[in-house]
Symmetry: C2
Subunit: 430 residues, 2 copies
């Protein structure tokens, strides 16, 4: 047994508390597995007196978290504060610069500054770990970067946000509309402090940018992730999806080809028999396609105290074992600047839902707009009027260029008989 | 870029050829990822002249594979010969003893001699890797031993043999009986040279023994794995399973509790909505339960040139990166001798299928036998006679002790009206 591995923890929210629980409860087991005792020397959080249900009296309390970077009794700084900039970023920079390894579950930080921080870690010959940033309970970054390292990967996609998956699952299970389930979800405390991170696909976008980098060795480029959330999904869409043989899931999809790197987060209709279609509630799942493995599938809890803390501690264990290396599994100098493919270049089938007033000529106007953009229909459904005399018209197109769909929908939106903004959901026959 | 990592490959069957293809095709990609070029210096197989569709003219051909252990230009010996003993074992012992790392996909070797070889590797300060031995395309050993290392794991189970999963899937899909599908499967070349390894659950048993060791830190103990294969499953069982809301899968199940270590491979009825129930054909899937992650699920191709070779090369990449450590992720001295729990201690529900002559008193005799062992029935189905005047009687029990079921079935088997040996399938409500 060599000397203890001393760490400091910044942020004592759900995940920080989970990390401390694991390190306390499994102290001996982890020491047996790694050959080193993991010792917490100092902690820091915004509120010192809050009862967190754990005993932190044995650790130094530090008011200014940046002090961690200067302590001789800290080998790893664990950052669980959050936010892409501000104190989290400063702590990362200062810790790495003073030769400390840095472990974080902060997806925004890594999505925005991952390439720069990986370079800092390399320059200072220390480790940077962020397994907890993507799909908490699933060791997906390690699986991709090490387990599948013999493969050229071509596509990675999955359900990366548990909260929106919970909302979509509950809408279907309870037959309730978005607004009602959203309120229930808020009461359960499942939403991020800024709900837009979940609902607009930004949290999933952060995770997708990180996954892309690990899978394809490209520089993290969050700015080129297309993001569209679930706010416009209605119960009627979920019901039509089921009728058409699909389920609606918010997916992050990333692929690298000769043409460039595609990164997009948006609601998808996926065949209801696809493994990813039956991943419900707070679970995450990721599919990885590679040239020698063909396809692999990973599922687990996406967030929460236990799963995310488990990933953070796994990073600490890797460091204790001396299993360190480039943060994105390839040296920063080898990371590629991939050309971004725009969402407007997507080609595939679309589900279109229109809410219109029931008047003569409506369908003629709509189909004319589609014809003008060469959009060819595979299915069209109209099932009688709602109580207010309006009607839902649902269509499924053949493979179509995204630009043409958007042009047609914009023209349809301008028709006086169209009530809501038309909605298109991309169909992914995964 | 440091010096090349030199390896020798023993065995040029499907997997050996796959390893060479990957190392040739992805030479530069792997060098970028690891900082070292992987160089094959020598190869060996039983037949030198066979056309394998790859160019091996640049590698030394060695007739006696044991010579690898003495070569100065070999840092890793890759063993893809197979077999628990004989040359594979001797090569492992000699290679490790002469300070070479050893990478293998040989599940029989590791299931039988894993603990001893792990000790040899440790004594000689070299690595022993066998990711390819379990669930080819899924990096499951790394996921468990590193990704989930912060957890105390409680249960690991899964579909560990692709061939039997293919047979069961095809029986259901085509509505054909076992014998017919077995013949088709043989023609496709999916069976091991000794079909008993697949059909009697031995191959799955080897993999389960390895999984148990990695998950629970217990010494590999293949002798205590209970194994029962799929030879007695009939189409009628698959049809009844569906009707009862189940599918039949050959599972390996391992769990560690205060009472000891349970390791068993046998056909199970699993709820048809369980993720593992929809894993079809040649795919493998593994579920891992731990105290902080809750539950994770992994699916991928179980065997074949690409997936298994990918796992073998991943082990080589780990060594190139210097990510070495104890073979079972815990030092051999820390591995536990767990008390084995016998299959006869299982408690749970059972599906029972009897094939009997239609005579007065048959059901009375059967139910009396069950009553005498306190077996309580939840469901009983009898749906008219077959063309030959015989009848199938199917029952589902409440939770029952395995011993009692086996006693009752043995008594039922002795009844003159019972045609086939009664079959019990354990129901696992996973």
């Amino acid at each position: 047994m060599t000397n203890p591995l001393k760490i400091a923890i910044a942020g004592l929210g759900t995940v920080g508390v989970g990390v401390i629980k694991i390190l306390q409860e499994h102290r001996n087991m982890i020491a047996a597995r790694t050959g080193r005792v993991i010792e917490i020397t100092a902690v820091s959080a915004s509120n010192r007196s809050r009862d967190r249900g754990i005993d932190i009296s044995g650790y130094d309390w530090v008011d200014n978290v940046l002090d961690f970077a200067n302590r001789d009794d800290v080998e790893i700084v664990v950052e669980l504060i959050g936010g892409s900039d501000g104190v989290a970023r400063e702590l990362a920079q200062k810790s790495l610069a003073s030769g400390k390894s840095f472990v974080t579950a902060n997806k925004a930080l890594i999505a925005h500054h991952g390439a720069e921080l990986a370079q800092n870690a390399q320059d200072n010959d220390v480790a940077l770990g962020f397994e907890g940033a993507v799909a908490g309970g699933i060791p997906i970054l390690k699986s991709i970067g090490e387990g599948l390292a013999a493969n050229k990967l071509t596509k990675v996609y999955g359900i990366l946000n548990g909260t929106t998956n919970y909302i979509l699952t509950q809408m279907e299970a309870k037959g309730k509309d978005y607004g009602e389930i959203l309120e229930e979800t808020k009461l359960l405390g499942y939403l991020e402090a800024d709900p837009s991170l979940d609902l607009d696909g930004i949290d999933a976008g952060h995770k997708l940018a990180i996954l892309s980098s690990v899978a394809f060795g490209v520089k993290t480029n969050f700015d080129n992730v297309y993001m569209e959330g679930i706010r416009r999904i209605k119960l009627v869409d979920i019901e039509y999806a089921r009728e058409l043989g699909y389920r609606i899931k918010l997916l992050g999809i990333s692929s690298l080809s000769e043409a460039g790197l595609e990164q997009r987060v948006h609601p998808c209709m996926v065949p209801k028999t696809a493994p990813i279609a039956i991943v419900d509630d707070g679970f995450n799942a990721i599919v990885v396609d590679g040239d020698y493995i063909d396809r692999t599938f990973y599922e687990g809890r996406g967030a929460g105290e236990g799963p995310t803390a488990s990933a953070v501690v796994a990073d600490i264990i890797d460091i204790a074992r001396g299993h360190t290396g480039p943060a994105f599994f390839v040296p920063p100098s080898e990371m590629l600047d991939a050309k971004a493919i725009s969402i407007s270049d997507r080609v595939g089938p679309y589900y279109i839902r229109l809410h219109v007033e029931e008047q003569p000529g409506v369908i003629a106007d709509i189909t004319a707009a589609l014809r003008d953009e060469d959009v060819s229909l595979h299915i069209m459904l109209q099932k009688g009027s709602e109580q207010d005399g309006t009607v839902y018209v649902v269509m499924v197109t053949h493979d179509t260029h995204e630009k043409r769909i958007m042009n047609a929908l914009s023209q349809i939106d301008s028709l006086s008989s169209v009530i809501d903004k038309p909605l298109a959901i991309r169909i992914e026959n995964l």
